[in-house]
């Protein structure tokens, strides 16, 4: 890692400036701009709330579903949102264990992103239910009737996977925040701020013993979180893979879902990083190098996804099952063909642009690509969820169903909620880890001075 511009500065000044700058993100920047953005996304969140209320009070019939397409937007959204969360866990846990120092400036908000995305994803299956008020029947609680969840169902595994994921993500994110909450408490200008940050800082004083225990705990949780990167989306993939529906029943799904998750997750991290870097002028903390690394990971994940496509259709051909072969053609030429080709165009062709350093290092272009890739991954989930049962075994049942205005509003609303939460987050706590940045800077300085 090169940071030549910083070489001459005094280490103390640097630490102080990092601390001030990052802590100031909670109050600095353009207050009016923040308010406007927050108002906009809060409005979208209200739309989200409204559509949920509508679905809860009137029924899931408000959504674009029928027989045979009984799974609709909520399922697409849960897979998509969970996938987005994966990048955060990968950055925080795996890259921490791999000692990838460059993760420091992005880890905190990537974790927050994971948390919010997983939270929204966790709501989607409940919205999807015909009788959402009974969602807790998936929980193995000691009911008086002695009934338990049906363990063979992947939906039960799913429930546990998502619940674990949200819990671990929350713990991990909070633990990482503790030292910075201490800093925030010390920097707080009002009594109330001191109180609030103080409570959440858990009495953090920055003592060496604190640091020692803290690092052990953090590593442990990182170790716990690591398998989740693979397991959560694999389990979600099993929702589909264990059925016998052509288009769902595919052995390649678990790894392919994980790759897709990382792909879309990094796209979302970039979608968030690039505007934030610009708004808060964090060019010296989040450099083009960071963007490039993320773009490279995205490219790698994208290639795995493309490989997944190839294998999926290879297996269909190799299997020779007439229903699966029909499915392949139905995706390409059926009533939903635009969705399929849209997905192919974005995920296969557009991903190739990441081979070019110019694209990877240009914030503007990369931002555009990342946004479109997110759409592409949403389309991928659409293709899987919808274009499978719509024409399955008996032609007499074939039918189509498209999203209603409630579906689209809900998707848009969930995005609004996500960004609104994110805006609150960067106002409440340092969006970039102060202590990790300092640590990174320290290590960097030492490296430099040792070399000279």
């Amino acid at each position: 890692m090169k940071k030549s511009t910083e070489r001459a500065r005094h280490q103390g000044d640097v630490f102080e400036s990092i601390g001030r700058k990052l802590a100031a993100m909670t109050s600095g920047g353009s207050r009016r701009g923040w308010l406007l953005m927050f108002a906009f996304f809060a409005l979208l969140s209200l739309i989200f709330l409204y559509t949920i209320m509508l679905v809860f009070t009137v029924g899931v019939g408000m959504l674009g579903i029928n027989i045979p397409v009984a799974w609709g937007f909520p399922i697409i959204n849960v897979v998509w949102w969970i996938g987005i969360g994966h990048a955060g866990t990968l950055i925080s846990a795996i890259l921490l264990l791999l000692r990838q120092g460059w993760r420091a400036p992005i880890s905190r908000f990537a974790e927050a992103m994971t948390l919010f995305a997983a939270g929204i994803a966790g709501m989607m299956p409940i919205i999807h239910l015909g009788r959402p008020w009974f969602f807790y029947w998936l929980v193995p609680y000691p009911a008086t009737m002695g009934v338990w969840p049906q363990w063979r169902s992947p939906l039960v595994w799913d429930f546990f996977a998502i619940a674990t994921y949200i819990t671990v993500s929350l713990l991990f994110w909070y633990l990482g925040l503790v030292p910075d909450l201490g800093s925030m408490r010390d920097r707080a200008k009002t009594k109330l701020g001191r109180r609030i940050y103080g409570v959440f800082a858990l009495g953090w004083r920055g003592a060496a013993s604190h640091w020692r225990r803290y690092q052990t705990a953090y590593l442990l949780i990182a170790g716990l979180a690591t398998p989740l990167v693979v397991s959560v989306h694999s389990v979600i993939a099993l929702d589909f893979a264990v059925t016998l529906v052509p288009g769902y029943h595919s052995q390649v799904f678990p790894p392919y879902f994980v790759a897709g998750a990382l792909f879309s997750g990094f796209a979302m991290v970039l979608t968030l990083t690039i505007p934030m870097r610009r708004i808060f002028r964090l060019y010296d903390l989040i450099t083009s190098d960071h963007l490039e690394v993320m773009a490279k990971i995205m490219l790698a994940a994208g290639l795995v996804v493309i490989y997944g496509y190839v294998i999926e259709y290879f297996l269909i051909w190799y299997d020779g099952d007439e229903y699966h072969i029909y499915l392949a053609f139905n995706r390409m030429f059926g009533p939903y063909a635009p969705y399929f080709w849209g997905m192919m165009f974005i995920n296969v062709l557009l991903t190739q642009s990441l081979w070019f350093p110019k694209v990877r290092r240009s914030a503007g272009i990369l931002f555009a690509v990342a946004v479109v890739l997110n759409v592409g991954m949403w389309l991928e989930r659409y293709v899987i969820v919808i274009i499978s049962t719509n024409r399955d075994f008996l032609p007499s049942s074939w039918n189509t169903s498209f999203g209603t205005w409630v579906d689209w509003s809900m998707l848009l609303g969930s995005l609004g909620l996500f960004f609104a939460l994110f805006l609150l987050f960067i106002r409440a706590v340092p969006a970039i880890s102060i202590f990790e940045e300092k640590e990174l800077e320290y290590e960097h300085e030492h490296e430099e001075s040792g070399r000279s």
Binding site: G130, W137, V242, S401
Partner: protein, 1043 residues
């Protein structure tokens, strides 16, 4: 008993103190076993019994009890809105039982025989009653027009009874009046008629077969000698009657013996669905379609595709006018009658070849063949059919002739024409219209509605305040068949009694009371009138015995019309004039609707939502035309076209119908109604059937009720969505319906069985899906559906809906793809010569059925829960809401379902149905329909998955009965609702663990197969593959190459 909620169960006819009319017990098993009177039957309650049951009538009741009773009856008397707003009965009717009558056991259904009348002819039914509420209609096995089966109309009558749009009050010029007002007005008229000997009084009824009603009308005509009686119904037998007059010089009824017929030729029309004896004929027809038996061969010439064409071995599409030429050609071929070449000039070579083969077959089976002319065909065709049957020696064997069944055999069109003419000339001053709707359905050229306004005194008695009511001075609400007494004759003359199951829900009137009153009698109850008539008939000592016996059996034995041996007037037929086909313009053909008939069922939501057998459309009709004609006009399904005759026209959506002749278009009658409910449900303006579909009656002329020539077709450029239950019409190279020709089957008797064994899965490493204790629990339920017998009529679907409280979802939800039928009938088209290209279907499924090939083959497949032993739905449910029970059923635990819909996603048959919205409660109509619900079946609310249960409640009930008697359930003791209603007995249900049951035997049929067997779901529902018997030519069979 002290339930204060308004519930019709509190108003049980058994304690109807208004009159002595009481329903009788129908006990099929007992009466079947012993022809004598069963020892126990319901006895009409007299005053004495009533006092026993209802102590309020008894002066000796103590005060406290009296007050209690009063409180209860007050509570019940404030019955409030809905059903009971216009209760006619006094408060005593709703007093709870103190000493419960023995015959009523709460929770136990009772069954009563009755008869429904459609087009004048009787259809015997057995109605199920729960605590006084009719909840289900079944066919009466002893009635010849039912044989235990039912059609969609019989099933749907139940909903008509509870229809909240029914007329509820007497109205004069649209103002509600009391019955006293009405009687006063009628009494005044009565005096006037007495002095004028009834001059100017006319009565209009549908065709009357009812002996008692006819005797009342005759009595009226005796009292007022100058009054006249007219009959009219839009779907009538005029042409058949004219044909009979041509051929035999007399009126007669034609009856077929399909069980005797080796070769059947249907010349237009549909013996499986359109005749008053269709249920009977369908049974006989199916009996001869068993591939292992002596299979018949069926030829059908159709002007518009129908069920018989779908079942036929050889089908020929020709427009309705051309069929006369075909008949002439055929008769010439057979009998050697000389023909003028011009008579058959319009026939193509292919048609002539087809006829030659058919003629050869008919001749080879002389004496065991049958030619049937459709009701819409001209009298000449009927006469020619009679001639051919006579020539081939079929008369007396496959076709028999009877005395007319109608009480007055006449040409109904002429009868109505006389009436219209007399109205126009001012000869009519009083017109009484009983249960008919001429303003809506009279031929357009009569301008009946225009003339009607000129009649000073008009009274209409009908179930609805309909189009005729709106133009009449008086409207009188008619009692439903389940509310009143009556009788009717079946297609072959057998008499059955119509018994009420419930006292009238509204302030309705029976035509018997009205006619008696008009004849100068007191206002008698319908029971009184009918009973008196039969007391006269059964004169003698055993009169009462015979009456009861008739009620118990539901039919009067040996009352069929006398057989005739009429002599054919060959010369008259030979001299028949030939009318050449009119030049120019399209031919518009009319037909009764398979769901609404002539429009009388337009307000029946069950029928509106039951997909049409061939088009699979719901909630509306369409203009049917051949795919080629549609393509020529650049029309896609749902495009609105204007069909014009200069003076009148209509706008309707197009449906390209494979197999339809290219030079004609067709439309079904009965849509576009306008009914005014007396009291519409809160948030609705009118009746639900109003303005649904296009009304074709304004185009129909009296000179030919079947068709009208000279139409022009114009594309409007607009289109509507047709609410269809099925979007893909071709099997896409898959084989849900397996079929072969009879010859192929005889050469390869194991062609199905070998495939089936090939699908037998290898031993799995995993334990068997059905845990061990279940396998030994006793019964193992299973079903077999014979595709050779299934005629696709849809009765099973509707019977299932009625039995299992399946909601109606409405047109919008059907468009969304959310139809709720647990049992659907899949209809596939394939083409005999070229297999459809599957690439076409990718583009737009709407166009997929546009097969240019006229030689289309139609396949029906009832599809219901297959009750897979290895059920894919079960393992994906996270809460275990769908599980296997100990008898091999795949059951739904509604209370446990949280609505993930994973079960439906994983069901390869897509037979599961989901309550996407609240379809059952809090809807304007659901409250009114509540009494119709089966109390043995849970009503599902929103968010819950549901599906076929094999009528679990019927199994349970039978199991209880058997346990009480300490015996196993007998084979055939449990009938599923679909099985019971099926006209052809295509559905067999029973215990598959017992090798001797009918279902086990059916599953051993060499043609028995499972749908999607390679998925290893191991369905308990299997099908018997369809075999066609084309005979002399071996058609290419898809099975041959693909297996």
């Amino acid at each position: 008993m002290t339930d204060r909620k308004p519930s019709p169960s509190a108003r049980i006819p058994a304690v109807n103190v208004d009159d002595d009319s009481n329903v009788q017990l129908w006990q099929p098993s007992e009466s079947k076993d012993s022809p004598d009177l069963p020892p126990h039957i319901d006895v009409p309650l007299g005053r004495q019994q009533l006092e026993r049951y209802l102590p309020i009538l008894n002066a000796s009741s103590d005060r406290r009890r009296f007050l209690k009773m009063m409180a209860a009856s007050m509570g019940a008397a404030g019955l409030g809105p809905g059903l009971t707003a216009c209760v006619k009965g006094p408060a005593e009717e709703i007093v709870p039982y103190v000493d419960a009558p023995e015959i009523i056991v709460p929770g136990k259904a009772r069954y009563y025989s009755s008869v429904f009348t459609r087009n004048g002819y009787g259809y015997g039914v057995v109605a199920e009653s729960h605590q006084g509420r009719p909840t289900k209609i079944e066919g009466n096995p002893m009635h010849p027009a039912s044989l235990g089966a039912s059609d969609v109309f019989m099933q749907a009558e139940l909903l008509n009874l509870y229809d909240p749009d029914r007329s509820r009050a007497v109205q004069e010029n649209g103002e509600i009046r009391s019955q006293g007002n009405l009687r006063l007005a009628l009494a005044n008229k009565r005096e006037q008629w007495s002095s004028s000997r009834g001059r100017g009084l006319r009565i209009l009824t549908p065709l009357v077969t009812s002996p008692s009603l006819a005797s009342q009308i005759r009595e009226l005509l005796r009292v007022y000698p100058e009054a006249r009686w007219h009959q009219w119904q839009p779907i009538n037998d005029d042409k058949a009657l004219q044909g009979a007059r041509l051929a035999f010089g007399r009126d007669l009824a034609v009856d077929y013996r399909l069980a005797q017929a080796d070769v059947v030729l249907q010349l237009d029309g549909d013996l499986l669905s359109e005749l008053p004896g269709s249920l009977h004929y369908a049974r006989d027809f199916a009996r001869r379609r068993e591939p292992l038996g002596n299979m018949s061969r069926v030829y059908a010439v159709e002007s518009q595709p129908g069920l018989i064409g779908a079942m036929a071995d050889h089908r020929l599409g020709a427009n309705a006018l051309l069929i006369e030429q075909l008949a002439r050609h055929l008769s010439a071929q057979l009998t050697g009658r000389p023909v003028d070449p011009s008579e058959t000039s319009a026939l193509s070579d292919e048609q002539q070849r087809w006829l030659q083969r058919c003629a050869r077959d008919l001749r080879e089976h002389a004496g065991r063949s049958l030619v049937i002319a459709g009701a819409q065909q001209s009298p000449s065709v009927h006469a020619l059919a009679h001639w051919i049957n006579d020539y081939l020696g079929n008369a007396g064997t496959t076709v028999i002739y009877r005395e007319p069944v109608a009480q007055r055999s006449e040409l109904l069109t002429e009868s109505l024409q006389d009436l219209s003419r007399d109205i126009a000339t001012g000869e009519v001053d009083s017109l009484l219209m009983i249960d008919c709707n001429p303003v809506f359905d009279a031929p357009a050229d009569f301008e009946f509605g225009q003339h009607l306004k000129a009649v000073p005194f008009t009274a209409h008695i009908g179930l609805y305040f309909d189009e005729t009511a709106a133009l009449s001075r008086w409207h009188i609400p008619l009692s439903h068949a389940l509310e009143s007494w009556g009788d009717a004759r079946a297609f072959e003359g057998t008499i059955a009694i119509q018994q009420p199951l419930i006292s009238p829900l509204y302030d309705t009137v029976s035509p018997y009371s009205l006619l008696a009153f008009l004849s100068g009698d007191i206002w008698r109850s319908d029971y009184d009138c009918v009973r008196r008539y039969w007391a006269d008939v059964f004169s003698g000592g055993d009169s009462e015995q015979r009456w009861r016996r008739m009620l118990i059996r539901g039919v009067l034995e040996d009352s069929a019309s006398a057989l005739l041996a009429p002599s054919l007037q060959k010369d008259a037929i030979a001299a028949l004039n030939f009318e050449p086909q009119p030049e120019g313009g399209l031919l518009l053909q009319f037909a009764p609707d398979p769901r609404l008939w002539d429009g009388r069922y337009a307000n029946n939501a069950w029928l509106q939502e039951l997909p049409q057998p061939l088009t699979k459309t719901t909630w509306g009709n369409a203009l049917l035309m051949s795919p080629a004609l549609a393509a020529a006009h650049d029309l896609s399904p749902g495009d609105l076209v204007q069909i014009d005759f200069g003076d009148a026209g209509l706008e309707a959506p197009v449906w390209p119908m494979p197999g339809h002749p290219d030079d004609a278009v067709s439309i079904t009658l009965g849509y576009g109604r306008n009914i005014k409910p007396t009291q519409a449900p809160a948030d609705e303006d009118g009746a639900i059937g109003n303005a649904v579909g296009a009304d074709a009656y304004p185009l129909r002329m009296s000179d030919n009720l079947a068709l009208r020539a000279g139409a022009t077709l114009r594309k409007t450029g607009r289109s509507v969505a047709l609410a269809r239950s099925q979007h893909q019409s071709t099997p896409e190279g898959r084989e849900p319906v397996r079929e072969a020709t009879l010859d192929f089957f005889r050469d390869n008797p194991a062609f199905i069985a070998s495939d089936e064994s090939a699908h037998n899965p290898e031993k799995s490493l995993y334990p068997e899906p059905t845990p061990e204790p279940f396998a030994t629990a006793g019964y193992e339920w299973g079903m077999s559906v014979d595709l050779n017998a299934c005629i696709g009529c849809g009765a099973c679907s509707l019977a299932c809906q009625a039995e299992n409280n399946i909601p109606v979802v409405g047109r919008e939800q059907v468009l969304e793809g959310r139809l709720m039928h647990w049992l659907r009938i899949d209809r596939y088209y394939s083409s005999g010569s070229s297999s459809s290209s599957s690439s076409e279907s990718f583009s737009d499924s709407n166009n997929a059925l546009v097969s240019r090939d006229a030689d289309v083959q139609t396949h029906f497949q009832p599809m219901l829960c297959q009750h897979c032993e290895n059920a894919p739905c079960e393992y994906v449910c996270p809460v275990g809401a769908t599980v296997h029970d100990s008898e091999g059923l795949n059951v739904m635990v509604y209370n446990r379902c949280i609505g993930t819909r994973d079960c439906s996603q994983n069901c390869p048959y897509k037979v599961r149905r989901f309550n996407f919205l609240e379809y059952n409660y809090d809807q304007p109509r659901t409250d009114a329909m509540a009494p119709a619900r089966n109390p043995d079946v849970t009503v599902r609310s929103r968010g819950v998955m549901e599906k076929c249960t094999y009528c679990l409640q019927r199994i349970s009930e039978t199991r209880r009965e058997a346990k009480k008697e300490g015996r196993p359930i007998r084979d055939g003791e449990v009938l599923t609702a679909c099985q019971q209603s099926c006209p052809t007995q295509a559905i067999v249900f029973g215990d598959v663990s017992d090798p001797d049951t009918r279902v086990s035997k059916a599953k051993r049929h060499p043609l028995s197969y499972s749908v999607l067997a390679p998925l290893n779901t191991r369905p308990r529902t299997t099908y018997v593959a369809r075999i066609r018997n084309p005979g002399f030519e071996r058609r290419p069979v898809r099975n041959e190459e693909s297996e």
